[in-house]
Symmetry: C2
Subunit: 262 residues, 2 copies
Amino acid sequence: MAKYEKIADDLRTRIRAGEWAPGAKLPSETPELTAHYKTSLPTIRQALSVLAAEGVVDKVHGRGNFVRKPRTVVVRTNERHQWEKDRARQSEQTRLQTGATEHDTGLTVSDLVFRAEFRETEAGEDLATLFGVPVGTALLERTYRTRYQEEDEPFNIARSYLVHDVAKGNADLLDPSQEPWPGGTQNQLFTIGIELDRIVERITARPPTAEEAEELGLKPGVSVFVLRKISYDTSGQVVEVSDVTLPGDRTEMVFTTPLNRW
Amino acid sequence: MAKYEKIADDLRTRIRAGEWAPGAKLPSETPELTAHYKTSLPTIRQALSVLAAEGVVDKVHGRGNFVRKPRTVVVRTNERHQWEKDRARQSEQTRLQTGATEHDTGLTVSDLVFRAEFRETEAGEDLATLFGVPVGTALLERTYRTRYQEEDEPFNIARSYLVHDVAKGNADLLDPSQEPWPGGTQNQLFTIGIELDRIVERITARPPTAEEAEELGLKPGVSVFVLRKISYDTSGQVVEVSDVTLPGDRTEMVFTTPLNRW
DNA sequence: GAGTGGTCTAGACCACTGT
DNA sequence: CAGTGGTCTAGACCACTCC
Protein backbone atom coordinates (compact mmCIF):
# COMPACT_ATOMS: atom_id res chain seq x y z
CA MET A 1 0.00 0.00 0.00
CA ALA A 2 1.30 3.41 -0.97
CA LYS A 3 2.32 5.88 1.65
CA TYR A 4 -0.38 8.40 0.71
CA GLU A 5 -3.02 5.66 1.04
CA LYS A 6 -1.78 4.77 4.51
CA ILE A 7 -1.96 8.42 5.50
CA ALA A 8 -5.45 8.78 4.01
CA ASP A 9 -6.59 5.66 5.87
CA ASP A 10 -5.12 6.90 9.10
CA LEU A 11 -6.74 10.31 8.81
CA ARG A 12 -10.08 8.77 7.81
CA THR A 13 -9.98 6.50 10.85
CA ARG A 14 -9.11 9.35 13.15
CA ILE A 15 -11.90 11.52 11.70
CA ARG A 16 -14.44 8.72 12.08
CA ALA A 17 -13.27 8.20 15.64
CA GLY A 18 -14.17 11.81 16.29
CA GLU A 19 -10.68 13.13 16.88
CA TRP A 20 -11.84 16.21 15.00
CA ALA A 21 -15.51 17.20 15.12
CA PRO A 22 -17.46 17.97 11.93
CA GLY A 23 -16.44 21.46 10.85
CA ALA A 24 -13.18 21.36 12.83
CA LYS A 25 -9.88 22.26 11.20
CA LEU A 26 -7.32 19.54 10.60
CA PRO A 27 -3.62 20.19 11.29
CA SER A 28 -1.95 22.27 8.59
CA GLU A 29 -0.36 20.52 5.62
CA THR A 30 2.92 22.26 6.33
CA PRO A 31 4.40 22.08 8.79
CA GLU A 32 2.16 19.92 10.99
CA LEU A 33 1.11 16.97 8.83
CA THR A 34 4.42 16.71 6.96
CA ALA A 35 6.19 16.54 10.33
CA HIS A 36 3.71 14.10 11.87
CA TYR A 37 3.86 11.67 8.95
CA LYS A 38 7.53 12.39 8.18
CA THR A 39 6.95 12.89 4.49
CA SER A 40 6.93 15.55 1.80
CA LEU A 41 4.16 18.02 1.09
CA PRO A 42 2.93 16.50 -2.19
CA THR A 43 2.39 13.16 -0.46
CA ILE A 44 0.30 14.78 2.26
CA ARG A 45 -1.66 16.66 -0.36
CA GLN A 46 -2.33 13.48 -2.30
CA ALA A 47 -3.71 11.82 0.83
CA LEU A 48 -5.96 14.81 1.53
CA SER A 49 -7.19 14.88 -2.06
CA VAL A 50 -8.39 11.28 -1.63
CA LEU A 51 -10.42 12.33 1.39
CA ALA A 52 -11.75 15.38 -0.43
CA ALA A 53 -12.92 13.16 -3.32
CA GLU A 54 -14.73 10.92 -0.83
CA GLY A 55 -16.47 13.94 0.60
CA VAL A 56 -14.85 13.48 4.01
CA VAL A 57 -12.74 16.63 3.96
CA ASP A 58 -13.29 20.17 2.69
CA LYS A 59 -10.21 21.90 1.39
CA VAL A 60 -10.42 25.68 1.76
CA HIS A 61 -7.75 27.77 0.15
CA GLY A 62 -5.96 30.03 2.60
CA ARG A 63 -7.78 28.67 5.65
CA GLY A 64 -7.13 24.98 6.01
CA ASN A 65 -8.63 21.52 5.68
CA PHE A 66 -11.87 20.85 7.53
CA VAL A 67 -13.98 17.83 8.42
CA ARG A 68 -16.98 18.10 6.11
CA LYS A 69 -20.32 18.63 7.79
CA PRO A 70 -23.33 16.70 6.53
CA ARG A 71 -25.51 19.02 4.46
CA THR A 72 -29.12 19.64 5.30
CA VAL A 73 -30.97 17.66 2.72
CA VAL A 74 -33.93 18.54 0.59
CA VAL A 75 -36.38 15.66 0.32
CA ARG A 76 -38.08 15.10 -2.98
CA THR A 77 -40.99 12.65 -2.98
CA ASN A 78 -43.06 11.10 -5.74
CA GLU A 79 -46.18 11.90 -3.76
CA ARG A 80 -45.68 15.47 -4.96
CA HIS A 81 -47.10 14.39 -8.32
CA GLN A 82 -50.50 13.28 -6.99
CA TRP A 83 -50.47 16.28 -4.69
CA GLU A 84 -49.89 18.60 -7.64
CA LYS A 85 -52.55 16.85 -9.68
CA ASP A 86 -55.09 17.31 -6.92
CA ARG A 87 -54.33 21.01 -6.84
CA ALA A 88 -54.34 21.51 -10.59
CA ARG A 89 -58.06 22.18 -10.71
CA GLN A 90 -58.25 24.30 -7.56
CA SER A 91 -58.76 28.05 -7.48
CA GLU A 92 -55.80 30.30 -8.18
CA GLN A 93 -55.94 31.48 -4.60
CA THR A 94 -55.35 27.94 -3.33
CA ARG A 95 -52.67 27.22 -5.92
CA LEU A 96 -50.80 30.39 -5.04
CA GLN A 97 -50.19 29.26 -1.50
CA THR A 98 -47.63 26.53 -2.03
CA GLY A 99 -45.66 24.91 -4.84
CA ALA A 100 -44.47 21.34 -5.10
CA THR A 101 -40.95 22.17 -3.95
CA GLU A 102 -42.24 23.93 -0.86
CA HIS A 103 -44.57 20.98 -0.29
CA ASP A 104 -41.59 18.63 -0.26
CA THR A 105 -39.21 20.83 1.67
CA GLY A 106 -41.63 22.35 4.15
CA LEU A 107 -40.29 25.78 3.22
CA THR A 108 -42.46 28.74 2.38
CA VAL A 109 -42.50 30.40 -1.02
CA SER A 110 -40.53 33.37 0.22
CA ASP A 111 -37.49 31.24 1.17
CA LEU A 112 -36.94 30.26 -2.44
CA VAL A 113 -35.99 32.18 -5.54
CA PHE A 114 -36.87 30.92 -9.02
CA ARG A 115 -35.54 31.95 -12.37
CA ALA A 116 -37.10 30.86 -15.64
CA GLU A 117 -35.72 31.09 -19.18
CA PHE A 118 -37.73 30.08 -22.22
CA ARG A 119 -36.64 29.39 -25.76
CA GLU A 120 -37.83 27.59 -28.82
CA THR A 121 -35.81 24.62 -30.02
CA GLU A 122 -36.10 21.67 -32.37
CA ALA A 123 -36.66 18.08 -31.33
CA GLY A 124 -33.58 15.90 -31.70
CA GLU A 125 -33.67 12.15 -32.18
CA ASP A 126 -34.09 11.52 -28.49
CA LEU A 127 -36.99 13.85 -27.70
CA ALA A 128 -38.69 13.26 -31.06
CA THR A 129 -38.93 9.55 -30.29
CA LEU A 130 -40.33 10.20 -26.83
CA PHE A 131 -42.96 12.68 -28.01
CA GLY A 132 -43.72 10.62 -31.09
CA VAL A 133 -43.15 13.56 -33.45
CA PRO A 134 -40.79 14.03 -36.44
CA VAL A 135 -37.21 15.11 -35.76
CA GLY A 136 -37.06 18.91 -36.09
CA THR A 137 -40.52 19.58 -34.60
CA ALA A 138 -40.62 22.86 -32.70
CA LEU A 139 -40.40 22.44 -28.92
CA LEU A 140 -40.72 24.91 -26.10
CA GLU A 141 -37.69 24.57 -23.83
CA ARG A 142 -38.02 26.05 -20.37
CA THR A 143 -35.08 26.19 -17.96
CA TYR A 144 -35.72 26.71 -14.26
CA ARG A 145 -33.22 27.37 -11.52
CA THR A 146 -34.26 27.21 -7.89
CA ARG A 147 -32.14 28.50 -5.05
CA TYR A 148 -32.40 29.48 -1.44
CA GLN A 149 -32.80 33.19 -0.91
CA GLU A 150 -29.65 33.47 1.13
CA GLU A 151 -27.43 31.36 -1.13
CA ASP A 152 -25.75 32.19 -4.42
CA GLU A 153 -25.96 28.90 -6.28
CA PRO A 154 -29.15 27.12 -7.29
CA PHE A 155 -29.79 23.69 -5.76
CA ASN A 156 -31.54 22.44 -8.82
CA ILE A 157 -31.68 23.02 -12.53
CA ALA A 158 -34.62 21.72 -14.52
CA ARG A 159 -35.10 21.80 -18.26
CA SER A 160 -38.64 21.08 -19.40
CA TYR A 161 -39.79 20.34 -22.94
CA LEU A 162 -43.28 20.69 -24.41
CA VAL A 163 -44.35 20.40 -28.04
CA HIS A 164 -44.63 24.03 -29.12
CA ASP A 165 -47.88 23.57 -31.05
CA VAL A 166 -49.47 22.04 -27.97
CA ALA A 167 -48.17 24.66 -25.55
CA LYS A 168 -49.39 27.58 -27.62
CA GLY A 169 -52.98 26.53 -26.86
CA ASN A 170 -52.57 28.98 -23.99
CA ALA A 171 -50.46 32.03 -24.89
CA ASP A 172 -49.53 32.58 -21.25
CA LEU A 173 -47.57 29.32 -21.31
CA LEU A 174 -45.09 30.87 -23.75
CA ASP A 175 -44.42 33.83 -21.49
CA PRO A 176 -41.65 33.42 -18.90
CA SER A 177 -42.89 36.42 -16.93
CA GLN A 178 -45.87 34.27 -15.86
CA GLU A 179 -43.47 32.09 -13.84
CA PRO A 180 -43.50 30.81 -11.19
CA TRP A 181 -46.89 29.53 -12.28
CA PRO A 182 -49.25 28.84 -9.41
CA GLY A 183 -50.03 25.13 -9.41
CA GLY A 184 -47.07 24.11 -11.53
CA THR A 185 -46.91 22.22 -14.79
CA GLN A 186 -49.97 20.09 -14.13
CA ASN A 187 -52.14 23.20 -13.85
CA GLN A 188 -50.55 24.59 -17.01
CA LEU A 189 -51.43 21.38 -18.84
CA PHE A 190 -54.95 21.53 -17.37
CA THR A 191 -55.46 24.93 -19.03
CA ILE A 192 -54.91 23.30 -22.41
CA GLY A 193 -57.12 20.34 -21.65
CA ILE A 194 -54.51 17.77 -20.67
CA GLU A 195 -54.85 15.37 -17.76
CA LEU A 196 -51.88 13.25 -16.66
CA ASP A 197 -52.20 9.52 -16.19
CA ARG A 198 -48.75 8.69 -14.87
CA ILE A 199 -45.24 10.01 -14.43
CA VAL A 200 -42.13 7.93 -15.06
CA GLU A 201 -38.79 9.03 -13.59
CA ARG A 202 -35.47 7.55 -14.72
CA ILE A 203 -32.61 8.29 -12.37
CA THR A 204 -28.86 7.97 -12.68
CA ALA A 205 -26.05 9.14 -10.41
CA ARG A 206 -22.60 10.28 -11.48
CA PRO A 207 -19.95 12.88 -10.75
CA PRO A 208 -20.90 16.30 -12.12
CA THR A 209 -19.55 17.48 -15.43
CA ALA A 210 -17.34 20.55 -15.28
CA GLU A 211 -20.32 22.70 -16.33
CA GLU A 212 -22.65 21.27 -13.69
CA ALA A 213 -20.06 21.69 -10.95
CA GLU A 214 -19.68 25.30 -12.01
CA GLU A 215 -23.37 26.07 -12.26
CA LEU A 216 -24.45 24.33 -9.06
CA GLY A 217 -21.38 25.45 -7.12
CA LEU A 218 -20.42 21.87 -6.26
CA LYS A 219 -17.23 20.97 -4.48
CA PRO A 220 -15.13 17.99 -5.48
CA GLY A 221 -16.54 14.89 -3.84
CA VAL A 222 -20.18 15.60 -4.62
CA SER A 223 -22.29 13.49 -6.97
CA VAL A 224 -25.34 14.57 -8.92
CA PHE A 225 -28.65 12.90 -9.54
CA VAL A 226 -29.76 13.19 -13.12
CA LEU A 227 -33.47 12.64 -13.39
CA ARG A 228 -35.56 12.42 -16.54
CA LYS A 229 -39.24 12.85 -15.77
CA ILE A 230 -41.68 11.80 -18.46
CA SER A 231 -45.35 12.72 -18.13
CA TYR A 232 -48.03 10.72 -19.95
CA ASP A 233 -51.55 11.92 -20.53
CA THR A 234 -54.63 9.73 -20.22
CA SER A 235 -54.28 8.54 -23.82
CA GLY A 236 -50.73 7.32 -23.19
CA GLN A 237 -49.15 10.21 -25.13
CA VAL A 238 -45.96 11.83 -23.76
CA VAL A 239 -46.83 15.45 -23.04
CA GLU A 240 -43.85 16.74 -21.10
CA VAL A 241 -40.24 15.69 -20.68
CA SER A 242 -38.15 17.27 -17.97
CA ASP A 243 -34.46 16.81 -17.19
CA VAL A 244 -33.53 17.71 -13.65
CA THR A 245 -30.08 17.91 -12.10
CA LEU A 246 -29.88 17.69 -8.33
CA PRO A 247 -26.83 17.80 -6.06
CA GLY A 248 -26.42 14.43 -4.37
CA ASP A 249 -25.14 15.82 -1.09
CA ARG A 250 -28.29 17.76 -0.34
CA THR A 251 -31.01 15.76 -2.01
CA GLU A 252 -32.84 12.70 -0.81
CA MET A 253 -35.42 11.16 -3.09
CA VAL A 254 -38.30 9.19 -1.65
CA PHE A 255 -40.48 6.92 -3.77
CA THR A 256 -43.50 5.16 -2.37
CA THR A 257 -44.86 2.18 -4.28
CA PRO A 258 -48.34 1.12 -3.17
CA LEU A 259 -49.12 -2.56 -3.71
CA ASN A 260 -52.46 -4.12 -4.66
CA ARG A 261 -54.07 -6.23 -1.95
CA TRP A 262 -54.36 -9.94 -2.24
CA MET B 1 -7.09 29.62 -14.83
CA ALA B 2 -4.39 27.14 -13.89
CA LYS B 3 -2.39 25.39 -16.54
CA TYR B 4 -3.67 21.94 -15.58
CA GLU B 5 -7.24 23.20 -15.86
CA LYS B 6 -6.58 24.55 -19.34
CA ILE B 7 -5.12 21.22 -20.35
CA ALA B 8 -8.05 19.32 -18.84
CA ASP B 9 -10.50 21.60 -20.66
CA ASP B 10 -8.65 21.16 -23.91
CA LEU B 11 -8.55 17.39 -23.63
CA ARG B 12 -12.22 17.26 -22.59
CA THR B 13 -13.19 19.33 -25.61
CA ARG B 14 -11.15 17.18 -27.94
CA ILE B 15 -12.63 14.00 -26.49
CA ARG B 16 -16.18 15.33 -26.82
CA ALA B 17 -15.40 16.34 -30.39
CA GLY B 18 -14.58 12.71 -31.08
CA GLU B 19 -10.87 13.13 -31.68
CA TRP B 20 -10.50 9.85 -29.82
CA ALA B 21 -13.32 7.32 -29.91
CA PRO B 22 -14.67 5.74 -26.71
CA GLY B 23 -12.17 3.08 -25.68
CA ALA B 24 -9.33 4.65 -27.66
CA LYS B 25 -5.97 5.34 -26.08
CA LEU B 26 -4.91 8.91 -25.46
CA PRO B 27 -1.32 9.99 -26.19
CA SER B 28 1.14 8.86 -23.52
CA GLU B 29 1.80 11.14 -20.54
CA THR B 30 5.52 11.05 -21.31
CA PRO B 31 6.71 11.92 -23.77
CA GLU B 32 3.72 12.82 -25.93
CA LEU B 33 1.48 14.98 -23.75
CA THR B 34 4.32 16.69 -21.90
CA ALA B 35 5.79 17.66 -25.28
CA HIS B 36 2.46 18.73 -26.79
CA TYR B 37 1.52 20.97 -23.86
CA LYS B 38 5.14 21.95 -23.11
CA THR B 39 4.86 21.23 -19.42
CA SER B 40 6.07 18.84 -16.76
CA LEU B 41 4.73 15.37 -16.02
CA PRO B 42 2.96 16.18 -12.72
CA THR B 43 0.97 18.92 -14.43
CA ILE B 44 -0.18 16.54 -17.15
CA ARG B 45 -1.07 13.98 -14.52
CA GLN B 46 -3.09 16.51 -12.56
CA ALA B 47 -5.08 17.37 -15.68
CA LEU B 48 -5.75 13.69 -16.36
CA SER B 49 -6.79 13.08 -12.78
CA VAL B 50 -9.49 15.74 -13.16
CA LEU B 51 -10.86 13.91 -16.18
CA ALA B 52 -10.64 10.58 -14.36
CA ALA B 53 -12.66 12.04 -11.45
CA GLU B 54 -15.32 13.22 -13.91
CA GLY B 55 -15.50 9.74 -15.36
CA VAL B 56 -14.32 10.89 -18.78
CA VAL B 57 -11.01 9.03 -18.77
CA ASP B 58 -9.88 5.63 -17.52
CA LYS B 59 -6.33 5.48 -16.24
CA VAL B 60 -4.85 2.00 -16.65
CA HIS B 61 -1.51 1.33 -15.07
CA GLY B 62 1.07 0.12 -17.54
CA ARG B 63 -1.18 0.52 -20.57
CA GLY B 64 -2.26 4.11 -20.91
CA ASN B 65 -5.14 6.53 -20.55
CA PHE B 66 -8.34 5.69 -22.38
CA VAL B 67 -11.60 7.43 -23.24
CA ARG B 68 -14.12 5.84 -20.90
CA LYS B 69 -16.88 3.83 -22.55
CA PRO B 70 -20.41 4.13 -21.24
CA ARG B 71 -21.23 1.07 -19.15
CA THR B 72 -24.15 -1.16 -20.00
CA VAL B 73 -26.64 -0.27 -17.36
CA VAL B 74 -28.86 -2.42 -15.21
CA VAL B 75 -32.33 -0.99 -14.94
CA ARG B 76 -34.10 -1.29 -11.61
CA THR B 77 -37.79 -0.47 -11.61
CA ASN B 78 -40.32 -0.05 -8.83
CA GLU B 79 -42.73 -2.22 -10.80
CA ARG B 80 -40.62 -5.16 -9.60
CA HIS B 81 -42.36 -4.86 -6.24
CA GLN B 82 -45.87 -5.45 -7.54
CA TRP B 83 -44.46 -8.12 -9.87
CA GLU B 84 -42.85 -9.87 -6.91
CA LYS B 85 -46.01 -9.57 -4.85
CA ASP B 86 -48.06 -11.17 -7.62
CA ARG B 87 -45.66 -14.10 -7.68
CA ALA B 88 -45.41 -14.53 -3.94
CA ARG B 89 -48.39 -16.86 -3.81
CA GLN B 90 -47.59 -18.83 -6.96
CA SER B 91 -46.29 -22.39 -7.05
CA GLU B 92 -42.62 -22.98 -6.33
CA GLN B 93 -42.21 -24.10 -9.92
CA THR B 94 -43.35 -20.69 -11.18
CA ARG B 95 -41.29 -18.83 -8.61
CA LEU B 96 -38.16 -20.75 -9.50
CA GLN B 97 -38.16 -19.48 -13.05
CA THR B 98 -37.19 -15.86 -12.51
CA GLY B 99 -36.20 -13.52 -9.71
CA ALA B 100 -36.81 -9.80 -9.46
CA THR B 101 -33.31 -8.91 -10.63
CA GLU B 102 -33.63 -11.08 -13.70
CA HIS B 103 -37.07 -9.55 -14.28
CA ASP B 104 -35.52 -6.08 -14.33
CA THR B 105 -32.40 -6.95 -16.25
CA GLY B 106 -33.83 -9.43 -18.70
CA LEU B 107 -31.06 -11.85 -17.78
CA THR B 108 -31.60 -15.46 -16.93
CA VAL B 109 -30.86 -16.93 -13.53
CA SER B 110 -27.72 -18.65 -14.73
CA ASP B 111 -26.03 -15.35 -15.74
CA LEU B 112 -25.99 -14.22 -12.13
CA VAL B 113 -24.25 -15.46 -9.02
CA PHE B 114 -25.60 -14.74 -5.56
CA ARG B 115 -23.91 -15.01 -2.21
CA ALA B 116 -25.79 -14.77 1.06
CA GLU B 117 -24.44 -14.32 4.59
CA PHE B 118 -26.67 -14.35 7.65
CA ARG B 119 -26.02 -13.23 11.17
CA GLU B 120 -27.92 -12.17 14.24
CA THR B 121 -27.51 -8.61 15.43
CA GLU B 122 -29.13 -6.11 17.77
CA ALA B 123 -31.29 -3.20 16.74
CA GLY B 124 -29.59 0.16 17.09
CA GLU B 125 -31.41 3.45 17.57
CA ASP B 126 -32.08 3.80 13.88
CA LEU B 127 -33.57 0.38 13.12
CA ALA B 128 -35.34 0.11 16.47
CA THR B 129 -37.29 3.29 15.70
CA LEU B 130 -38.24 2.04 12.25
CA PHE B 131 -39.41 -1.36 13.43
CA GLY B 132 -41.01 0.12 16.53
CA VAL B 133 -39.13 -2.21 18.87
CA PRO B 134 -36.81 -1.53 21.85
CA VAL B 135 -33.14 -0.82 21.16
CA GLY B 136 -31.24 -4.10 21.48
CA THR B 137 -34.00 -6.31 20.03
CA ALA B 138 -32.57 -9.29 18.12
CA LEU B 139 -32.59 -8.81 14.35
CA LEU B 140 -31.74 -11.16 11.52
CA GLU B 141 -29.22 -9.45 9.25
CA ARG B 142 -28.84 -10.93 5.78
CA THR B 143 -26.18 -9.69 3.37
CA TYR B 144 -26.52 -10.46 -0.32
CA ARG B 145 -24.02 -9.89 -3.08
CA THR B 146 -25.03 -10.25 -6.70
CA ARG B 147 -22.57 -10.42 -9.54
CA TYR B 148 -22.35 -11.42 -13.15
CA GLN B 149 -20.99 -14.90 -13.66
CA GLU B 150 -18.08 -13.67 -15.76
CA GLU B 151 -17.08 -10.78 -13.49
CA ASP B 152 -15.21 -10.71 -10.20
CA GLU B 153 -16.90 -7.91 -8.36
CA PRO B 154 -20.56 -7.79 -7.32
CA PHE B 155 -22.72 -5.05 -8.85
CA ASN B 156 -24.85 -4.73 -5.80
CA ILE B 157 -24.69 -5.31 -2.09
CA ALA B 158 -27.88 -5.53 -0.09
CA ARG B 159 -28.25 -5.82 3.66
CA SER B 160 -31.70 -6.81 4.82
CA TYR B 161 -33.06 -6.68 8.36
CA LEU B 162 -35.97 -8.62 9.85
CA VAL B 163 -37.03 -8.85 13.47
CA HIS B 164 -35.60 -12.20 14.56
CA ASP B 165 -38.67 -13.29 16.51
CA VAL B 166 -40.80 -12.70 13.44
CA ALA B 167 -38.45 -14.44 11.01
CA LYS B 168 -38.14 -17.56 13.10
CA GLY B 169 -41.79 -18.29 12.34
CA ASN B 170 -40.31 -20.29 9.45
CA ALA B 171 -37.02 -21.99 10.36
CA ASP B 172 -35.97 -22.06 6.71
CA LEU B 173 -35.75 -18.26 6.75
CA LEU B 174 -32.83 -18.47 9.18
CA ASP B 175 -30.86 -20.79 6.92
CA PRO B 176 -28.62 -19.15 4.33
CA SER B 177 -28.32 -22.38 2.36
CA GLN B 178 -31.96 -21.87 1.29
CA GLU B 179 -30.84 -18.83 -0.74
CA PRO B 180 -31.50 -17.73 -3.35
CA TRP B 181 -35.09 -18.15 -2.26
CA PRO B 182 -37.51 -18.64 -5.13
CA GLY B 183 -39.92 -15.73 -5.14
CA GLY B 184 -37.78 -13.45 -3.02
CA THR B 185 -38.51 -11.70 0.24
CA GLN B 186 -42.20 -11.24 -0.41
CA ASN B 187 -42.67 -14.99 -0.68
CA GLN B 188 -40.62 -15.48 2.48
CA LEU B 189 -42.89 -13.05 4.32
CA PHE B 190 -45.93 -14.82 2.86
CA THR B 191 -44.79 -18.07 4.51
CA ILE B 192 -45.05 -16.36 7.88
CA GLY B 193 -48.40 -14.77 7.14
CA ILE B 194 -47.27 -11.28 6.14
CA GLU B 195 -48.72 -9.32 3.22
CA LEU B 196 -47.07 -6.08 2.12
CA ASP B 197 -49.10 -2.93 1.65
CA ARG B 198 -46.43 -0.57 0.31
CA ILE B 199 -42.72 -0.11 -0.13
CA VAL B 200 -40.93 3.18 0.50
CA GLU B 201 -37.48 3.75 -0.99
CA ARG B 202 -35.21 6.60 0.11
CA ILE B 203 -32.34 7.28 -2.23
CA THR B 204 -29.18 9.32 -1.96
CA ALA B 205 -26.15 9.59 -4.24
CA ARG B 206 -22.56 10.18 -3.19
CA PRO B 207 -19.00 9.09 -3.96
CA PRO B 208 -18.26 5.62 -2.59
CA THR B 209 -16.52 5.22 0.73
CA ALA B 210 -13.13 3.51 0.56
CA GLU B 211 -14.79 0.24 1.63
CA GLU B 212 -17.52 0.42 -1.01
CA ALA B 213 -15.05 1.23 -3.77
CA GLU B 214 -13.02 -1.78 -2.67
CA GLU B 215 -15.92 -4.17 -2.42
CA LEU B 216 -17.70 -3.13 -5.61
CA GLY B 217 -14.48 -2.70 -7.57
CA LEU B 218 -15.30 0.90 -8.43
CA LYS B 219 -12.91 3.16 -10.27
CA PRO B 220 -12.41 6.77 -9.29
CA GLY B 221 -15.10 8.87 -10.88
CA VAL B 222 -18.01 6.58 -10.08
CA SER B 223 -20.84 7.47 -7.71
CA VAL B 224 -23.02 5.10 -5.75
CA PHE B 225 -26.73 5.04 -5.11
CA VAL B 226 -27.55 4.28 -1.52
CA LEU B 227 -31.09 3.03 -1.22
CA ARG B 228 -33.02 2.26 1.94
CA LYS B 229 -36.08 0.16 1.18
CA ILE B 230 -38.71 -0.03 3.88
CA SER B 231 -41.55 -2.56 3.58
CA TYR B 232 -44.82 -2.02 5.40
CA ASP B 233 -47.40 -4.73 6.00
CA THR B 234 -51.13 -4.21 5.69
CA SER B 235 -51.37 -3.00 9.29
CA GLY B 236 -48.81 -0.27 8.65
CA GLN B 237 -46.06 -2.07 10.57
CA VAL B 238 -42.48 -2.03 9.21
CA VAL B 239 -41.56 -5.65 8.51
CA GLU B 240 -38.33 -5.39 6.54
CA VAL B 241 -35.62 -2.79 6.11
CA SER B 242 -33.06 -3.23 3.38
CA ASP B 243 -30.01 -1.09 2.60
CA VAL B 244 -28.78 -1.48 -0.95
CA THR B 245 -25.64 -0.04 -2.53
CA LEU B 246 -25.59 0.23 -6.31
CA PRO B 247 -22.85 1.53 -8.60
CA GLY B 248 -24.04 4.69 -10.31
CA ASP B 249 -22.29 4.04 -13.59
CA ARG B 250 -24.19 0.85 -14.31
CA THR B 251 -27.52 1.37 -12.63
CA GLU B 252 -30.56 3.25 -13.80
CA MET B 253 -33.54 3.43 -11.52
CA VAL B 254 -37.01 3.84 -12.93
CA PHE B 255 -39.98 4.83 -10.81
CA THR B 256 -43.48 4.99 -12.20
CA THR B 257 -46.06 6.99 -10.29
CA PRO B 258 -49.64 6.31 -11.36
CA LEU B 259 -52.05 9.20 -10.83
CA ASN B 260 -55.72 9.02 -9.87
CA ARG B 261 -58.13 10.11 -12.58
CA TRP B 262 -60.14 13.26 -12.27
C1' DG C 1 12.89 -5.53 -22.36
C1' DA C 2 10.30 -1.52 -24.09
C1' DG C 3 6.53 1.33 -23.08
C1' DT C 4 3.69 3.41 -19.87
C1' DG C 5 1.64 4.92 -15.66
C1' DG C 6 2.31 5.32 -10.20
C1' DT C 7 4.81 7.19 -6.29
C1' DC C 8 7.80 10.26 -4.06
C1' DT C 9 11.19 13.97 -3.14
C1' DA C 10 12.79 18.96 -2.26
C1' DG C 11 11.90 23.15 -3.06
C1' DA C 12 10.20 27.66 -5.39
C1' DC C 13 6.68 30.79 -5.92
C1' DC C 14 1.75 32.30 -6.13
C1' DA C 15 -3.02 33.17 -4.12
C1' DC C 16 -6.23 33.48 -0.60
C1' DT C 17 -7.76 34.44 4.39
C1' DG C 18 -7.74 36.71 8.52
C1' DT C 19 -5.61 39.77 11.98
C1' DC D 1 1.84 40.51 7.47
C1' DA D 2 1.56 35.68 8.96
C1' DG D 3 -0.50 31.42 8.05
C1' DT D 4 -2.14 28.26 4.90
C1' DG D 5 -3.30 25.97 0.72
C1' DG D 6 -2.53 25.83 -4.71
C1' DT D 7 0.51 25.30 -8.63
C1' DC D 8 4.55 23.88 -10.88
C1' DT D 9 9.24 22.08 -11.82
C1' DA D 10 12.92 18.31 -12.73
C1' DG D 11 14.01 14.18 -11.95
C1' DA D 12 14.51 9.40 -9.65
C1' DC D 13 12.79 5.00 -9.14
C1' DC D 14 9.08 1.47 -8.93
C1' DA D 15 5.19 -1.47 -10.91
C1' DC D 16 2.38 -3.13 -14.41
C1' DT D 17 1.41 -4.76 -19.33
C1' DC D 18 2.54 -6.77 -23.41
C1' DC D 19 5.50 -8.52 -26.87
